[in-house]
């Protein structure tokens, strides 16, 4: 069990000499506390698997250091790092039974047999694998195999962190929920640091207490699910998280006012000094914009379609050329294609060159 520090960590598959822009992982410095549940979230190719492989030691970083509890483990091999990793596809030793699979990492480390048996029994109990201990592992279903992969990591009492690389990819949807709750329960019970890589925001937000959003090799924001939702620090976080994603539209911002299409929207904070020459946008989640009957004080928009998600309806509208999504209040019936938009000023954020600008209250 360990706190993990990444110090100026970066990696390029082309070697250290490559241009920084081509790095698969651009320099990142952050600390993951002991016992935390972290999710690395981002689209394919954003560098999240690279980061995971750097921590597990499968890939050696081009730059920077990784510290476990303050000790530099960057040069250590995977074997010596006390990491457990669960891969996208279940890795099972075909010829072994479930029991032998679970005992394998301990046997390799020369742990006495009595201790191995006790540990395997305990972990099998935790993972609900006890009835299958004597079975050949190849005969089990994908979710049971993933549990075995996980179990092989957990049997080691000295494990520093458990890494998951999109572990639910091959699991049936109805079992995904079960397995994910199992992971959460294990996390609470064992007080382990867990790092979970996924491109599925639901998985990330339900599993982790801290979600690290990555984009184009960079960590763009790290925070609780609520923080990512309420206050995205980067426009990418805004539209990647949430369904539908955040509305981002170019606007002219001065003081406590933003202008879209010549229309003024009030802001909650004062944006006195904005970086000169930057591309200014405002971002607001569809949940905080309501459609209403057109009125003179409201920004007018044209409805393209309405998505009924059951609990809530979202209108897809157009403001000039910009696409926009807004909530349709319950009971509101759309008179014709033309509507007005009502903003909640507290949830309208201002972005300069995609980065959040903190206003003055």
């Amino acid at each position: 069990m360990a706190r993990i520090d990444l110090v100026d960590l970066a990696h390029s598959y082309g070697g250290n000499g490559s241009a920084l822009e081509s790095f698969a992982l651009k320099p990142v410095t952050m600390t993951w506390r002991q016992g935390g549940a972290y999710a690395l979230l981002g689209p394919s190719g954003c560098g999240k698997t690279t980061l995971l492989n750097l921590i597990s030691g499968i890939v050696t970083p081009s730059r920077g250091k990784i510290l476990f509890d303050g000790a530099d483990i960057t040069p250590l091999s995977t074997q010596k790092r006390n990491i457990a990793q669960v891969f996208q596809f279940p890795v099972i030793y075909d010829t072994m039974t479930v029991r032998e699979n679970l005992a394998f990492p301990l046997k390799n480390r020369g742990v006495p047999k009595a201790e191995v048996d006790a540990r395997v029994k305990e972990i099998a109990g935790l993972l609900d694998l006890t009835p299958w201990l004597g079975r050949k592992a190849t005969r089990l279903t994908a979710d049971a195999k993933q549990k075995i992969s996980l179990g092989r990591g957990l049997v080691r009492s000295d494990v520093a962190a458990v890494l998951f690389d999109e572990p639910l990819t091959v699991i049936d949807p109805e079992l995904k929920w079960q397995l994910r709750s199992k992971l959460k329960a294990l996390h609470r019970e064992l007080d382990l640091t867990m790092i979970y890589v996924t491109h599925d925001q639901t998985e990330a937000l339900t599993f982790a207490d801290t979600v690290v959003v990555m984009h184009d090799g960079r960590v763009v924001q790290s925070g609780t699910p609520a923080e990512l939702f309420d206050k995205p620090e980067h426009t990418f976080v805004g539209y990647f998280i949430g369904s539908p994603g955040m509305n981002i539209v170019p606007a002219a911002v001065s003081g406590r006012e933003a202008r879209i299409d010549g229309h003024v929207i009030g802001l909650h904070r004062n944006y006195g000094v904005l970086p000169a020459g930057a591309n200014i946008e405002i971002g607001v989640r569809p949940e905080f914009v309501n459609v209403a009957a057109p009125a003179s004080g409201l920004l007018s928009a044209v409805i393209e379609r309405i998505d009924d998600l059951g609990r809530v309806r979202f209108a897809r509208v157009r403001i000039g050329d910009a696409k926009f999504a807004a909530r349709v209040p319950p009971g509101f019936s759309v008179p014709d294609n033309s509507v007005g938009l009502v903003f909640d000023p507290a949830h309208v954020h201002v972005y300069a060159d995609s980065r959040l600008v903190e206003g003055v209250a």
């Binding site: 030793y93 010829t95 050949k136 190849t138």
Partner: protein, 300 residues
């Protein structure tokens, strides 16, 4: 549902039936027919019933003695070359590079012996091993080793075995290499994380994943070595004495040398039957011992 009855469909099967009849059924039945008869030439045949089969299995008769002795030699030969080629092929496959231009180079070099016609392989080794002009034979004799495959039984066997290993280990190696390449990287990474030694990785991952291709390799090598004819015929001609006379060589001697069609037919049928049985045993044992098909059984 009612099936449409259309007897004309039989005509579509007719071409296949004719081809199979001429290429397989008629020759096979002719052999069965011969195996029950004796001939003294001039197309005169005499009914002999199962006489030849009885003789074949009785070592005290000439036919039975020759058959059983050559069968014993053949099984020993197959056992030896399998015992050498399979482990050697695995070792070669394991030590081959996994990426880069060297992969292509290795594959081409390995494939070379496989491309050489069998009688040419025989000729190469026949000359290579000659004590007077062959590089191998001359070198060995110069080193003080009395090597002569024409007069010494052990030398003859050694030559035939080394020749087969040289010719066919590549096949086993290539099959194993294909098996190894199909193992996803995650297995190796997981094994690394689990702290597995090189030997444990081989035993727990590589060998089980090669199981299928090894089955094919063993079957192919067994069948090929069990019907081996050309190479030993060219190198040793079955000698010295009868020491390298394998079943096929004996069969050709009886059928074409002595023109004993009845004896030869009976022998070839038994020969065929042995191959079928051994292959069936291999297949059954190896498929059951190795991969077990996953059952649909949910773990809740």
């Amino acid at each position: 549902m009612d099936k449409t009855i259309n007897q004309k469909a039989w005509f579509l099967v007719l071409p296949v039936f004719l081809v199979v009849a001429f290429s397989a059924i008629l020759p096979l039945m002719t052999v069965v027919n011969y195996s029950m008869q004796d001939t003294f030439g001039n197309n005169q045949f005499f009914w002999n019933g199962v006489g030849w089969f009885k003789e074949l299995l009785d070592p005290s008769t000439d036919l039975g003695g020759r058959f059983l002795a050559s069968l014993g030699r053949n099984l020993l030969f197959s056992a030896i070359i399998l015992a050498i080629e399979v482990p050697l092929g695995i070792v070669v496959a394991l030590s081959m590079p996994r990426q880069g231009w060297t992969v292509a180079a290795c594959l081409v070099i390995l494939a070379l012996p496989l491309l050489i016609p069998w009688n040419v392989v025989g000729t190469i080794w026949q000359i290579f091993g000659r004590p007077d002009i062959g590089l191998l034979g001359y070198t060995l004799n110069s080193l003080g080793i009395d090597y002569n495959y024409v007069s010494n039984e052990f030398d003859a066997w050694a030559t035939v075995i080394v020749m087969d290993v040289w010719h066919w280990t590549s096949l086993v190696a290539l099959l194993c290499y294909a098996g190894l390449k199909s193992i996803p990287d995650a297995y190796y990474q997981a094994a690394q994380i689990d702290g597995a030694s090189r030997w444990a990785v081989f035993k727990a991952i590589q060998l089980p994943k090669m199981n299928r291709v090894l089955l094919i390799a063993v079957l192919l090598r067994f069948m090929d070595s069990f019907m081996i004819y050309t190479e030993p015929f060219v190198v040793t001609g079955g000698g010295p004495g009868n020491s390298t006379t394998f079943v096929s060589i004996e069969l050709v001697k009886i059928a074409l040398g002595q023109f004993d069609l009845g004896k030869a037919a009976a022998l070839s049928l038994v020969y065929n039957l042995i191959i079928l049985i051994v292959c069936w045993i291999f297949y059954t044992v190896m498929t059951n011992a190795g991969t077990e098909r996953p059952e649909k059984q949910g773990v809740k």
